[in-house]
């Protein structure tokens, strides 16, 4: 089963994300951007990279957009196939949505609040390698 990395500083959000990922992949968690980058680096070194990352933006320490930049740099350095990155944030303005996707390299963006079905649909639209539920965004 493919590995998924869920990144959020709110335990409630992490529980929600874990529930949403049922059947999609094996979910692991990180509580901030720095921890996410380290988890990602370790996974690359193990030869078992994450297939997808769901990333919050506003977190203590390193924010989600910076973490995605660093993840993309790690992938480029390792010559690894890019994972899919979905941003999930209460920040719904243009600057964050564009910075995440055009500058940092995220593949999609959902503004909170989102329901379970919407999140699963957004994951399906990421074109993950494994079979995912056939749903829209």
């Amino acid at each position: 089963m493919q590995r998924l990395l869920l990144v959020d500083d709110e335990p409630v959000s992490l529980r929600f994300l874990a529930r949403a990922m049922a059947g999609i992949g094996e979910a692991e968690e990180a509580r901030d951007g720095a921890e996410a980058v380290e988890r990602f680096r370790a996974a690359l070194e193990e030869g078992r990279p994450f297939a997808a990352v769901v990333m919050d933006i506003m977190m203590p320490g390193m924010d989600g957009i910076e973490a995605v930049r660093r993840i993309r740099a790690l992938e480029a350095g390792a010559g690894s196939e890019p994972c899919r990155v979905l941003m999930l944030s209460c920040l719904d303005d243009a600057e964050h949505q564009l910075a995440a996707q055009y500058e940092a390299g995220a593949d999609g963006y959902l503004a909170k609040p989102v329901d379970l079905a919407t999140l699963r649909r957004a994951m399906a639209n990421l074109d993950l390698p494994a079979d995912l539920p056939d749903a829209g965004e």
Binding site: D92, A94, Q101, Y102, D107, D134, G136, E137
Partner: protein
């Protein structure tokens, strides 16, 4: 995704560049996007939806380069035209669920940046009207094929192996 392309089910409508439509009944709207942008509008609980396929960011800036007559050729006039149409359909604009798709950087055509300009135009035009974007899937170097179900607001999306050439319509995909 295959069910979306079958002969069964709601009618399929291909939206080429400069086309937009309000749907008051079930449909499957297909749009093929490279640097172009599609914005989807859906009024939850009412089966009402709308979308368009725009080529360039703003009418004022690009009219001399593109004299196409449809307001849906330009992102800013496309949004304004669609909001006016939705208002005529009695949709409360502040309840619309709005999503933005497309805006790939079409490197093959030497037009790096037009995709992002299109997306910026969409966000700024919507922000001027006080409307938020609930979801976006924009940027990158690959095109997208989207199928919008206006009755539910769902968007099914596939990224393409390469960015479609400008002028190609979704009917040609």
């Amino acid at each position: 995704m295959n069910a979306l392309f079958s002969l069964e089910g709601p009618p399929v409508v291909h939206l080429g560049i400069g086309e937009g439509r309000v749907f008051e009944g079930p449909a499957r709207a297909h749009v093929l996007l490279g640097s172009c942008v599609a914005v989807t509008f859906h009024l939850p609980g009412h089966g009402l939806g709308a979308t368009f396929h725009a080529l360039l960011p703003s009418r004022e800036e690009y009219l001399r380069k593109d004299s196409g007559g449809s307001p849906f050729r330009f992102v800013d006039t496309a949004i304004e035209t669609m909001l006016a149409a939705l208002s005529r359909a009695r949709a409360p604009l502040d309840r619309l669920e709005i999503k933005v798709f497309g805006g790939a950087n079409s490197l093959v055509q030497g037009e790096f940046g037009i995709g992002q300009k299109n997306v910026r135009a969409a966000f700024s035009t919507l922000a001027r009207r006080g409307l938020r974007v609930a979801a976006s899937n924009v940027g990158g170097t690959r095109g997208r094929k989207i199928v919008f179900l206006p009755a539910t607001g769902e968007v099914f999306m596939k990224t393409l192996s390469e960015t479609p050439v400008r002028g190609m319509t979704s009917a040609q995909s």
